[in-house]
Amino acid sequence: MGSGGAFPAQKRSSGVLPMVNGGARGRAAPLLPRGRQIHKTFHNVKITILCGFVTILVLRGTIGIGSLVTSEADAENQHLIEETNRIIAEIRSDRDPSDPDEGPERFLGLNDTFSLGPRISNWDEDRKVWLEKNPRFPSYVNGKPRILLVTGSQPTPCDNAIGDHYLLKALKNKIDYCRIHGIEIMYNMAHLDKEMTGYWAKLPLLRRLMLSHPEVEWIWWMDSDALFTDMVFEIPVSKYKDYNMVIHGYPDLLFEQKSWISLNTGSFLFRNCQWSLDLMDAWAPMGPKGPLREEAGKILTANLKGRPAFEADDQSALIYLFLSQKEQWMSKVYVENSFYLHGFWEGLVDQYEEMIEKYHPGLGDARWPFVTHFVGCKPCGSYGDYPVERCLKSMERAFNFADNQVLNLYGFRHRGLASPNIKRIRNETVAPLVNVDQFDIRHAARHTTEPQS
């Protein structure tokens, strides 16, 4: 590099040497006097320092002090993501910041008796009196009995985000059906009873709702993993005027085979009456968490066909109750299988395209199932009994199959059963009410005769 520029005098004095950039070059050195040598050294050092300084300045301007790899923005991003994950983990855990551990759990012992509440024995009369006193809350509206659909899920987020997404879609599905058919919905997210947890949580909830809402004639429990797939079909309540409970199942499986899946408590109705209160009191004892439930589970496995060994569940307990106290209960229980009040998903979800081609909504049975129930999929947990892809794909298809029936009124349809996107299938007009009369399920239903039982 140019060192000669600063010391032209020196160069001139060593002009005898035929060099272009003379002065500091090695060959000249041994011939120079001492002083000049030192000067040259200083000169070099100065240049070096100057260059070094400039280099640092330039580098600082370009890359900056600090890490060479990540920029500040990246670090902030990383911090945000970590913070979000921490908060989400905290929300997901059941741990309550305001409610530290209440000490070890105490379960009911085998000799303790459990009751859902103080015994009520006059419910039918009390209810009748209340209804007479409150004519603005009748139990029959527009000729139809008042029905309350009850469903729910856990108060904490699901183990995986996809679980909450399908809970949301299933709830939308129920909202749609209930809006079309004038049914009220109650979505529960609270654990009302510490002992009746899990699938047993529905019992205290249903009892509480019955007693608080005497104007409700029928209460319909539906699992969160059950979807309506026939938006037109309406439950033929007149068929059940002499019954107090409607549950999907097969009488021969129940009485002859004593199968633990002969009835399904994922979707059933019961009347708001004394009989139902008595049934729940008789049903509840196998429920309380702990040794009671464990022991009960053993009895159930021993007595019901095909039941694996696990703690007592509400479905097996009900079946066992009906089998052991047949005369007391069965006269008022309608075991329904002429339509899919509960339809096991595996055999149904692949037929949707065929159904669309051959049949139409309103049938409610194997040709166009009323309810498709995703038993065993458990999308809110971490693991299901079936492959995840099959479950979620089928749930999406069932949801869209039903949603098409709702969107039909508005002139839209999904782009295939696996798609969240929709397309327009009917042009808009300046006389939209013609379409409303034709396509609104409520108005169309008015013109058809009541479905045969």
Partner: protein
Amino acid sequence: MLDRVLGPLNARRLHRVFRKAKLTVLCLFLTLIVLRANIGAGKFGTPEKDLDEIRETFSHIRNRAEPRRVLEEVAELKSSGDADAGSKNYADFDIKKILKDEDDGFPEFKRDPSQPYSLGPKISDWNEQRSEWLKNNPDYPNFVAENKPRVLLVTGSSPKPCENPVGDHYLLKSIKNKIDYSRLHGIEIFYNMALLDAEMAGFWAKLPLIRQLLLSHPEVEFLWWMDSDAMFTDMAYEVPWERYKDHNFVMHGWNEMIYDEKNWIGLNTGSFLLRNCQWSLDILDTWAPMGPKGKIREDAGKILTRELKGRPVFEADDQSAMVYILATEKEKWGEKVYLENHYYLHGYWGILVDKYEQMIESYHPGFGDHRWPLVTHFVGCKPCGKFGDYPVERCLKQMDRAFNFGDNQILQMYGFTHKSLASRKVVRIRNETSKPLEVRDELGLLHPSFKAVKTGSS
């Protein structure tokens, strides 16, 4: 060698000149670099940007290799694929694997793209059409009780899972909250999960939906749009329908802020009431033109930022557009628009959520205003997306509190309450009795007057 050509003295002089020139050029070059490093060179950017570009190029080269590597990995997965397809673990499942468009044979009707955007064919006699229909359908009256119109609450969210892993959980809680309020007040709900018009995506998606619902549900007298991030916090408050008998559009806002100041947050379109009538169809048609995605929305955004007070620079949104319409066409629309601020038809969460405990102590449900807000609206939180305008922790924790604040009013009907506003656990506040019908809930929400049916309709 130059010596031989020019002579020793001249050669030396030339050398000197060369040397100086070299030094000058070098110093100039260094100066430029230093200056550029500190100040930058305008559109040529700073060296930092250069470095980024260089890094990008290298990473791009790396990325080109990356897809190939990813594909190979996927191919590997597929071959050992059956094991994965059979996985029963929900943790690693990618929903995109199963969501896909298919052609099911139903013909699609598309809007003519050469025509200017419109929500649909112009209808001019909607009032007449509708009253004729109502006459012919006495089973679907537009008033369900004395002074109580039939109301349809409309809300919605995306049909695809939220980007934020707990977003769907908060959407679920939010819709449960709306279901509870609506059940108590005899209101119907429509939860939308369909994008009716791709051009009106984002905040504008509600316009085609609202028009479609108005036309398809002539029995509905008022349509109540509510954002998915808004929650009911006063379960006992009934909207004063009588107040709006001469109005068609009710929004939370202040007249001065719209008509005098043209303030872009002078009203809120996250929670509003719209009557089902010709006037509403007309205002929807006037509202829509700023919405179509792309250049139209961008340009409209610039106009709105220029014309409205305090509006930042971003594409046109439905709220600013409505402010603009009302401020500039007051004579045409103002008479039928009611800007309500006597209760929180929309309540900005920032000023409400910390006061819940105070409210519980000093007041009771039924006020609907600052003492006990009807709606707490979590504007800016965006729980379904990855990043909102506020810290995640504050948003989610406060949404939990608002939810519990509202839920307590529902649970008290049944004798329960949340342990605290932050807790998911519930505790009993009333023992079970053998005479349940003699017990009345404190707020009278079990059988409220606003839920009662018209007498003589059983």
